[in-house]
C-alpha cells in the first residue's frame, strides 16, 4: 500500500511488516503471536530512518529513548550496542518494544508518519533487545561506589523495576517488596503469554537483580510491614510506592456473583500467574464457557477475550457500550482479536446476568446504546435505547471495565494524602508524596495507564530520591 505511493528521492515508505503466527493456528496455543524481525528485516527497516537533526520521535517517548541513535546502530549491524543504547534510558526494552502504544507515542510523531509509513520504532526496539538476550550478551554496567543509603521499593511492576534499576545504578542499596510470589506486576499476572512471554519479563527481573537489587516476594506492605515500619524499624532511608491500580471494578448489576462471572484480573491471573491453562499439571483451575462475553473495550478486555478463545471457547464476544472508534485498546490488539474470530457486540451494555437453578451463568440481558454528546473524556457518551433489551446466549462473563486504587497501603499510612478516587497524591515531576521520604509512581498515582508511563515515573522518582538521599532536602 505504502509502496504504491510515489516516493520522494531517498524516501522509503515500505514499512517492514513483522511476521506473526497464523490466526487459525495461534488460537490453539499460548505462544507469542508476533514473531519478530530477522536481522535483515531490522536493517531494512532501520535504513528508512532519516536520522533527523531534531528527532521529534523522542518527544513522544516518556522514557526518552535515544531513538535515531539506536536505529543508526542497527543499520551498522551493531545490534547489541543498539540495545545498550536503549537501556541507557529504559531498563525494559524487550517489554516496551512489545506492549507500548508506539502508534500514539513516538511513531505518531515520526516525520514519516505524515507520509503514512512511520519508522517501526517499537519493532526495532523489540528486535535488538531480543537479539542481545539471544546471543547471551546481557552485560551489567559498572556500578558506582555504594552510598550506604537504603531504599525500599513496594511493588515490582514496571514503575518499581525501573526505579530500582536506576537507583542501583546510582549506588544505592535497593530492596523490592512484592505481595505476589513472582515479580513483574501486571507484566506477569495480567498481560498474557501470547503477547508478552513470561520468560522475557523474568529476563528483565534477572537483569535488575544482577544490578544488586534484592527482590523479596511474599511481603504485603500494609500487612507484613507498614510504610512506617520500613522507615522506622527496617532501616530504609526512603520508600517508593509502585503498587499499581489493581482493584477490579464490577458493574453492580444483578447476577454478578453467579458462578461463571470473573473479573478480568481474576481470569487473567489464574491463567498467566497461576498457569491454569496447564491444569492439572499446575494446581490452579480455570473455567471457560462455551460462549464467553467479555465486557469492556480496552487492552485488558482484548487480552481476556483472546485468552478465552485459546482456552477453547467456541464463541468469544467483546461487549462494549460505545462504538469501535472509542475503544481504548490498541488498534493492533483489536485487529489481532478480529483476525482470531472474536465477535464484537458494539453499542451494547449489560443490565443483568441471568443464572440457572444451580447458580451458574446462563445468559446476559443487555440493552442497545447510541452515541450522544461528548462527555468529559471527549468521547461521545453512550445512551441506552429504550425498549431495546435482549438476552445474549452466554455461559460465562468476564468483567473488564477497569480497575481502581487498592486501599491497602494508603489506609495503613495515615499521614499520606490520597485524592478523591483513592489514588496517592504525588508531584508529577518528582513523584514526592505528602509524606516525607515517601515517593509514588505508576498506576497508583494516575489510575490504570501504560507500562511506559510507569517507567517514566520510575525514572523521575529515581532522580528525585537520589537528590533527597544526598541532600536530605524535602
Amino acid at each position: 500500500m505504502a509502496g504504491e505511493k510515489k516516493p520522494k528521492k531517498g524516501l522509503n515508505l515500505n514499512r517492514m511488516e513483522m511476521p506473526r503466527q497464523d490466526p487459525k493456528e495461534r488460537i490453539k496455543n499460548f505462544n507469542e503471536v508476533a514473531l519478530g524481525y530477522t536481522p535483515e528485516m531490522a536493517i531494512a527497516e532501520a535504513e528508512r530512518c532519516l536520522q533527523c537533526k531534531k528527532p521529534v520521535c523522542i518527544d513522544g517517548c516518556p522514557a526518552e529513548v535515544k531513538i535515531p541513535e539506536f536505529i543508526k546502530l542497527i543499520t551498522e549491524g551493531k545490534f547489541v550496542e543498539a540495545s545498550r543504547k536503549i537501556k541507557e534510558t529504559n531498563a525494559l526494552p524487550a517489554v516496551c518494544g512489545r506492549v507500548c502504544p508506539q502508534e500514539e507515542q513516538c511513531e505518531v510523531l515520526c516525520v514519516l508518519h505524515k507520509k503514512g509509513a512511520p519508522v517501526a520504532i517499537g519493532r526495532l526496539e523489540r528486535f535488538v533487545a531480543d537479539y542481545e538476550a539471544e546471543v547471551g550478551a546481557i552485560e551489567v554496567p559498572e556500578l558506582p561506589p555504594r552510598t550506604g543509603k537504603r531504599v525500599a521499593v513496594v511493588g515490582s511492576g514496571p514503575a518499581g523495576l525501573t526505579v530500582a534499576a536506576d537507583l542501583a545504578l546510582m549506588g544505592h542499596e535497593v530492596v523490592i517488596f512484592e505481595a505476589l510470589h513472582k515479580a513483574g506486576g501486571v507484566l506477569v499476572y495480567g498481560i498474557p503469554e501470547f503477547r508478552l512471554p513470561k520468560a522475557i519479563v523474568q529476563r528483565e527481573v534477572d537483569y535488575i537483580e544482577k544490578l544488586g537489587v534484592k527482590v523479596v516476594c511474599d511481603v504485603v506492605i500494609g500487612k507484613t510491614f507498614t510504610v512506617d515500619d520500613l522507615l522506622n524499624e527496617e532501616g530504609f532511608d526512603a520508600v517508593f510506592l509502585g503498587v499499581g491500580a489493581g482493584l477490579p471494578w464490577f458493574m453492580d448489576i444483578p447476577g454478578e456473583n453467579l458462578n461463571g462471572v470473573y473479573s478480568a484480573n481474576e481470569f487473567l491471573t489464574r491463567n498467566n500467574l497461576m498457569k491454569a491453562y496447564l491444569f492439572p499439571e499446575y494446581d490452579t483451575p480455570i473455567k471457560v464457557g462455551r460462549k464467553v462475553a467479555v465486557v469492556g473495550g480496552g487492552n485488558v478486555a482484548m487480552d481476556a477475550v483472546r485468552t478465552a478463545l485459546r482456552l477453547g471457547a467456541e464463541e468469544a464476544h467483546i461487549v462494549y457500550r460505545r462504538s469501535r472508534a472509542e475503544m481504548p485498546a490498541r488498534e493492533e490488539e483489536i485487529e489481532n482479536a478480529e483476525a482470531e474470530g472474536v465477535i464484537f457486540d458494539l453499542l451494547v451494555n449489560p443490565v443483568e446476568i441471568l443464572g440457572d437453578e444451580k447458580g451458574w451463568v446462563k445468559g446476559m440481558k443487555c440493552i442497545r446504546m447510541e452515541l450522544g454528546e461528548p462527555d468529559e473524556s471527549g468521547r461521545r457518551r453512550p445512551v441506552p435505547i429504550e425498549g431495546s433489551e435482549f438476552v445474549m446466549d452466554v455461559d460465562m462473563v468476564v468483567m473488564a471495565i477497569g480497575t481502581g486504587a487498592n486501599p491497602l497501603v494508603p489506609s495503613t499510612t495515615p499521614d499520606m494524602e490520597t485524592n478523591r478516587r483513592g489514588y496517592i497524591v504525588a508531584d508529577p515531576e518528582t513523584c514526592k508524596t505528602t509524606k516525607k521520604g515517601v515517593f509514588a509512581g505508576g498506576d497508583i498515582i494516575r489510575g490504570a495507564a501504560t507500562v511506559i508511563l510507569a517507567v517514566g515515573d520510575g525514572k523521575k522518582a529515581a532522580r528525585a530520591i537520589d537528590h533527597y538521599l544526598k541532600t536530605g532536602e524535602w
Partner: protein, 283 residues
C-alpha cells in the same frame, strides 16, 4: 524460609504444621490468615493462623485434607518447606471486653476459632466454648480450647463423644439460660454458620462469622473471594474474613465454593495415582 519445624497428625485427614515465617508470626493478630503455596506448581491456598511462637518465629497451621493441595501439604514433614507463605492477611478480629462471649466452632473451624477465643479470654471476657465434630476422631484442639475456656461444651453428630447433637443444639441451650450472652463468634462449614445465625436470631445477640471463600491473590486484586453482605458485594480477603453473621448470603457463598468441584476431583484423582502414600488411613 517457610520450613516446617513440627508436625502433628490429629487424624488421617487433619494435620497440624508449625512453619517458619518470622515476619508473619511477629505481626499476626487473631482472625488473620496466610496464603500458602505448597510448591512451584501450587495454587494459592488461604489458611488461618491458629497460633504463633514469636520467639521461634513460627506459625501454626491446621488443615483438613479435602483436595489435591491439602493432601499434598499433608506430605510435608519437618525439614520440608512451603514455596510461599504470605501474610498476615485480612482484618484482625475486633476484640474487647464485651462481657460473656460464646465461641462456636465446627470441624476444622475449631482451629481458626482458637486464637479468637483466646484473645476474647485475654481481654477479660467470660468465655463459653462450644466445639463440635461429626464423630469423636475428628474432634481437634479440645485440650487447648478447654484450657482457655470458662466452660466448654463438646458435641458430636453421632453421639460418640460429649453431647449428642449439633453445635447449634448446645448453643440454643446456652442462649436459653438465665445468663446474658453479649456476643457469639462462629467458624465452621458454611451450612453450620448459616444455622448458627438462625439459632441466634431470636435472641438478638450480636454474631460474628468468619468466611472461607475461594481466593487467589488475597490482596484485593481479583475478586474471586467476593460475597454478598447485606446485599453489597465485599471481598473476604481484605474486607473480612469476619462479617456480621446476620448479613451474609450463605447460599450464594456455598454455591461459589462449589465452582471448581469437577476440577478439584480431577486433580485429586491424579494426585492419588501419583502419591498413594498421601492417602494412608483415608477411606
Amino acid at each position: 524460609m517457610f520450613r516446617v519445624v513440627r508436625k502433628r497428625e490429629w487424624h488421617p485427614t487433619i494435620t497440624e504444621l508449625w512453619v517458619e515465617a518470622p515476619w508473619v508470626a511477629k505481626k499476626h493478630r487473631p482472625g488473620q490468615f496466610v496464603i500458602v503455596r505448597v510448591d512451584e506448581n501450587g495454587e494459592r491456598v488461604p489458611l488461618t493462623v491458629v497460633d504463633t511462637d514469636k520467639e521461634e518465629g513460627t506459625i501454626c497451621l491446621v488443615f483438613q485434607k479435602v483436595g489435591k493441595s491439602t493432601f499434598h501439604m499433608g506430605l510435608l514433614n519437618p525439614g520440608d518447606a512451603f514455596a510461599d507463605v504470605v501474610g498476615p492477611l485480612g482484618r484482625p478480629t475486633h476484640i474487647e471486653n464485651f462481657g460473656t462471649v460464646v465461641c462456636v466452632g465446627g470441624g476444622v473451624g475449631v482451629a481458626p476459632l482458637y486464637p479468637i477465643a483466646k484473645g476474647m479470654k485475654e481481654a477479660g471476657n467470660k468465655l463459653i466454648s462450644i466445639i463440635g465434630a461429626r464423630t469423636k476422631e475428628l474432634l481437634i484442639l479440645e485440650d487447648k480450647v478447654k484450657a482457655i475456656s470458662d466452660e466448654l461444651i463438646v458435641t458430636t453428630d453421632d453421639g460418640s463423644y460429649g453431647m449428642h447433637g449439633f453445635v447449634t443444639d448446645a448453643l440454643k441451650q446456652v442462649l436459653d439460660r438465665d445468663e446474658k450472652v453479649d456476643m457469639v463468634v462462629s467458624i465452621g462449614p458454611v451450612i453450620m454458620m448459616k444455622f448458627v445465625a438462625k439459632t441466634c436470631e431470636p435472641y438478638k445477640v450480636p454474631l460474628v462469622v468468619s468466611l472461607n471463600s475461594i481466593m487467589v491473590d488475597a490482596t484485593g486484586m481479583c475478586g474471586a473471594c467476593r460475597v454478598s453482605i447485606g446485599g453489597v458485594t465485599r471481598f473476604v480477603c481484605v474486607d473480612g474474613p469476619e462479617f456480621d453473621g446476620y448479613q451474609v448470603d450463605y447460599d450464594e457463598l456455598m454455591q461459589r465454593q462449589q465452582m471448581y468441584l469437577d476440577e478439584e476431583k480431577r486433580a485429586l484423582e491424579k494426585f492419588r495415582e501419583e502419591h498413594p502414600e498421601a492417602f494412608q488411613g483415608v477411606c
